[in-house]
Subunit: 340 residues, 2 copies
């Protein structure tokens, strides 16, 4: 059975190893921390921890490093979130102080988070599945090309070029715009796609093929928009922590560029009671990220939409500080975006 002191030993092993990047031995533990026992005792505890696979020795006779299981134990039971420094709180204030465009807020947020944690930071766009259409705008680019702009109550704006099978004159465009808006505004994105279908019935016989073409394109635009997007910053922090990756950081950087893997990870994470969730090391192996950890938290955007934000870095990271930063930024973002 792992005693209380053993767990304390695990805690300092994690802390010291994260700080020094070197395997930590029994001697250095009694030196740096006041356990009130001798090195030999610590060694016994370490043998216990090794039994439980919470720590491991890189070579037969060297200090110990935490296993993934050890990190997991640490974040679940041992880590207390380090409160942010004054400077960090100020950074949050000044960075996110002035409100603006959604794009703008999210890109500021992600840069802030990467600076606070020195890791790769990611912010997910608020999901559109709960969003409602606020406005649809159609602009003529050429006789057979339209630009459609959809505005959602979450602040999302999405535009797309539509190719239409026949000319669209100004009056027709006005009619389209008006009927589209009366039919669709206020609808959730799912309903909107459904209502598109019945749209042609509102127009004269001759218009129907064109209207149907447009409705189809708009429905597609709505659908394409449901898929989520990420904003990412701080990829350079990966090379800064390169030594922490046993292999190469190439697959990690590739995953970051792809985004799709990260989105899946986000969707599978569940927050613990502190509001921050962690996925550690080999837990991410199915995604090809066996040496990285992800810390994430949810945040509330306009319209009650919920989305995630978080950081990604080497398994050997400062969980206490980073989890605190993620939580703080998520809270602040919810406050500055949310409906309240």
């Amino acid at each position: 059975m792992v005693s209380d002191r053993s767990l304390e030993v695990l805690r300092v092993i994690v802390q010291d190893y994260v700080a020094s990047r070197e395997p930590v031995g029994s001697k250095s533990i009694v030196d740096r921390h006041s356990f009130g026992v001798s090195a030999a005792t610590i060694r016994n505890d370490m043998a216990l921890l090794e039994e439980e696979e919470l720590i491991t020795a890189p070579h037969t006779s060297s200090g110990r490093i935490p296993t993934d299981k050890g990190y997991r134990m640490f974040v679940d039971h041992l880590a207390d979130l380090k409160p942010l420094t004054i400077a960090q709180r100020q950074a949050i204030e000044t960075f996110l102080g002035e409100s603006a465009d959604l794009d703008d807020v999210l890109s500021r947020t992600v840069r802030l988070l990467s600076q606070l944690t020195h890791q790769v930071a990611m912010v997910q766009y608020p999901s559109l599945s709960q969003a409602r259409l606020r406005h649809i705008e159609l602009v003529s680019l050429s006789p057979t090309k339209l630009l459609s702009v959809m505005i959602a109550d979450t602040g999302h704006v999405d535009q797309r070029v539509l190719e239409v099978p026949a000319e669209v004159d100004v009056e027709f465009l006005g009619e389209l715009r008006a009927k589209l808006n009366t039919a669709l505004v206020g609808a959730g994105v799912l309903e909107a796609a459904g209502r598109m279908a019945g749209l042609a019935a509102l127009f004269g016989e001759g218009r129907r093929p064109v209207v149907n073409a447009i409705a189809l394109a708009l429905a597609e635009q709505v659908a394409a928009n449901r898929q989520d997007r990420l904003v990412i910053a701080g990829a350079s922090n990966l090379v800064r922590t390169e030594e922490d990756f046993h292999g190469s950081i190439l697959p990690v950087l590739e995953a970051v560029e792809e985004q799709v893997v990260l989105l899946r990870l986000f969707s599978e994470l569940e927050a613990d009671q502190r509001g921050v969730s962690a996925s550690i090391g080999r837990e991410n192996a199915p995604f090809g990220l066996a040496e990285t950890s992800i810390l994430a938290s949810g945040y509330l955007a306009q319209g009650g939409a919920v989305a995630h934000l978080g950081v990604l870095g080497p398994t050997r990271m400062d969980y206490s500080s980073n989890m605190a930063a993620v939580r703080a930024v998520a809270r602040y973002l919810s406050r500055s975006l949310g409906d309240g």
Copy 2:
């Protein structure tokens, strides 16, 4: 004086070194290429090239590698652009085949370019300085918040949230929208900013403060938009070529994330007669990119706007192939975006 054969020697040194990543010696040259002379003769030529600082020896007695000056000579006088393979041409077709949104086209293009060259690829958004406003849309988000959407004839769409000092009801919004559009549509972005100022005169006395506030915000939006943006892909290729950077790739990745340095570089490059410009190694030292080269080309977007696109990678890169790829993609993009 550097003879013709010496230049041939330089060419094969560049080619072999780029291919093998190892200093190339006189022996291996006569082995791999049929110069019809002995190794000793090659050595004499190499001594000449070294005199001219076109090549250099990493250690006293090892093969030679090209200097930056040598690479410059190579791209200016020695390199013939390797025609793309069939597969590559097909990749361009399938990748850029279907037209769509400007955002979409550019992001496809940049991914394509990074795949073709295995380098970091960059595409600049078409400059707005030549763009004309096609439409301005105002949407009410809350009584004192407006979303403004500006659409330019280049396909640009830019949105921003405006905070207004007083409530704006539906009719007023309609009036604003109408007068803004009649006043501004067709104007270039520079003129538009100017015309904003006189806008308040069109409204009743009571409205003027609000109108002025909005005009100010819009003018700012126009101005902010003048600054150019880049789309970037393939940053992971930097770590793939990491060994080619003597120091760390950290500053390079940071510059890529910053974008601002890259924009300045783009603006200073001038195309040669082949339409592709190169900035090599220490030529980029003022930007902190002394070990990287940039290949760029201009492309034509809608409205006659011109913008740049290119790749960035280690000085030791395959200039022949990469310049060909940059040129091909630039041409294709011009064709698919241009007014013709």
